[in-house]
């Protein structure tokens, strides 16, 4: 059961790690949902690296609008999600036979280890122990200061976005292990967004958050299987309520990156 929870949470966790970097750099990428969905489809069509490419494509789309054209990030993210939902939904009906089957795949347990242990450590070191990480976080707190000290906010945000795409691409690939289905990301991108808040923009926090959300999801299946269908929806609502309370600073102090979404 615990093993199941650990494996099942991997796509979500990878997405959370990606969104953490991006938000630390001052962007809210709502389009992460569409990014994961696109990656899932391109994985089934073109393999693991196809998944990464699909995620990168969406990242470029988001970056061109949100970074280059300085469009509103929320609106851009919403548009990207609709776009990905539309394109993958259309393609699914057209190439149903090619998309329904399982894909030969990289080792899931290796990815699980990476997602739960290697990447969090690397992420924490990068964000808090390197100059690059410091500048990245500065983009999220005070982009003017980054500019004034001679670094390019644009380049730093693009690199955050590309790292996110690689992580989310892997998430999509992991999701599509047994084939593609319409809207198969099923809100995981939005959940990832919530977990980043829940984890108060810290690596340890988002790990804990992912574990709790993952446990709640697995528990839901268990309850469904035991046909106590009534309560699991309430159970699923609990993490969101807790996240709301965290945002209000009830469950401890919280401070979002100052320039988030700007």
């Amino acid at each position: 059961m615990i093993e199941l929870a650990i494996i099942a949470t991997v796509p979500l966790l990878l997405a959370v790690e990606g969104e953490l970097i991006v938000q630390r750099a001052g962007m809210i990428n709502l389009g992460i949902e569409g990014m994961m969905l696109t990656a899932a489809m391109t994985t089934v069509l073109f393999g693991f690296f196809g998944g990464l490419a699909g995620a990168l494509l969406i990242a470029v789309l988001f970056g061109v609008f949100a970074i280059r054209l300085r469009a509103d990030q929320i609106v851009t993210g919403t548009a990207i999600n609709l776009f990905a939902l539309g394109v993958t939904g259309f393609a699914y009906r057209e190439w149903n036979d090619r998309l329904a089957g399982a894909v030969p795949h990289v080792d899931s347990s290796a990815i699980a280890v990476a997602a739960w242990i290697v990447i969090p450590i690397a992420l924490a070191l990068m964000l808090w122990r390197t100059r690059f990480g410091l500048r990245l976080r500065a983009c999220g707190e005070n982009p003017e200061a980054v500019r004034a000290s001679g670094y390019s906010v644009t380049m730093l945000r693009w690199s955050a976005l590309i790292i996110e795409a690689l992580l989310v691409g892997t998430a999509g690939a992991e999701l599509a292990r047994t084939g593609f289905a319409e809207n198969m990301s099923a809100g995981r991108g939005y959940i990832a967004l919530s977990i980043v808040i829940f984890g108060r923009w810290k690596v340890k926090g988002v790990l804990l958050g992912s574990a709790l959300f993952g446990a709640a999801a697995v528990l839901q299946y268990a309850l469904q299987a035991a046909s106590r269908g009534v309560q699991f929806h309430l159970l699923l609502a609990v993490p969101y309520v807790v996240t709301l309370l965290i945002l209000c600073g009830i469950a401890g102090r919280v401070r979002a990156p100052e320039a988030l979404g700007k």
Binding site: F65, L82, V230, H233, L234, L260
Partner: protein, 316 residues
């Protein structure tokens, strides 16, 4: 207006290319006949336009106060739930309940902003999920039909008066659009709302209580989204079920942008997307092409409009 029409043209052209490229040369023709080609199709388009018009208006109103209301989905559900519960007391009570519930749901976000400075972009998304799970709980639990066969409610106790397939919600939605226009452009409240959205710090120095103004804007916005949920329940579905909201909250953003955030233009924008959705439904039934092309069309319209917007801000 020009830009909106150009965005529509681009998205239609793109759908045409998608049709050709995927070997469905008649894609556009089916879209048109399926949405406005017969009385039945036009009725379908009208019915689909109503929730889009209202969620679009909700986005417009909140935007005027300087906030993107992406909580339309949750407010839509809150409205429908309240309408269902209040329906035994009559249609009018149910409609009023849906407006109040939507306003209340949106106000949770503004309260959290005023109280703890929690950004409503994040809180409204979370409230969407809470709304979805709450609805899931209700239709699997306290509100499930007595037979217990499907995760859906009994038929609602009241319904909107109907003329053929068309329900009175069409008129309500049009009234809401005109009322929103009047509110935003012809009242003091609307002036304060626009001032707050246009430049919050200037509004503050002009003596406007910015947080309270945003809260009122969000409440009105949520009320309109809630009304959309109430009308959809009382006029179209007559039952609650898990996927009741069907993305109307998010589509409202596309509608509002196409309308260039003007309440009256929202009518036209909603009609266009309503037609697109209805035509796409027919496309799936008749030609076995996924109805997702409607979603794709919405996305392209938004992206093209952002592109135009950034071009204008660069040249000026």
């Amino acid at each position: 207006m020009k830009r909106a029409l150009a965005a529509v043209a681009v998205s239609i052209a793109l759908l045409w290319i998608v049709g050709i490229a995927s070997g469905h040369a008649d894609l556009l023709r089916v879209l048109v006949t399926g949405s406005i080609g017969s009385t039945f199709a036009i009725e379908g388009t009208l019915l689909k336009s109503v929730p889009l018009l209202l969620t679009g208006l909700a986005v417009v109103i909140a935007f005027r106060a300087g906030v993107w209301n992406i909580g339309g989905e949750g407010q839509f559900i809150a409205g429908a739930l309240a309408a269902f519960v209040a329906a035994p007391l009559g249609t009018i009570v149910a409609i009023v309940a849906s407006i109040l519930a939507g306003a209340l749901w949106a106000s949770i976000a503004s309260l959290m902003r005023a109280w703890r400075n929690a950004p409503e972009v994040l809180t409204t998304i979370l409230l969407n999920f809470i709304g979805i799970e709450l609805l899931g709980y209700c239709v699997n639990g306290p509100l499930q039909e007595a037979s217990g066969k499907y995760p859906q409610s009994e038929a609602v106790a009241a319904s909107l008066p109907q003329l053929g397939e068309i329900h009175a919600g069409v008129a309500l939605a049009l009234i809401a659009a005109i009322a929103s226009w009047f509110l935003i452009y012809r009242t003091k409240e609307g002036l304060r709302l626009r001032a707050t959205g246009f430049n919050p710090s200037a509004a503050h120095y002009a003596g406007i209580n910015v947080n309270a103004q945003i809260a009122r804007g969000m409440a009105i916005s949520g009320g309109v989204a809630g009304l959309a949920g109430g009308i959809e329940l009382l006029g179209v579905t007559h039952r609650l079920f898990e996927r009741f909201a069907a993305g109307y909250g998010y589509s409202g953003i596309a509608v509002a942008l196409l309308a260039q955030l003007h309440p009256l233009a929202t009518i036209g924008a909603a009609a266009f997307f309503g037609a697109l959705v209805t035509g796409a439904g027919e496309l799936q039934r008749a030609a076995n092409v996924s109805s997702s092309v409607a979603t794709l069309g919405q996305a392209v319209v938004i992206l093209v409009l952002i592109l135009f917007g950034s071009m204008r801000s660069r040249t000026s």
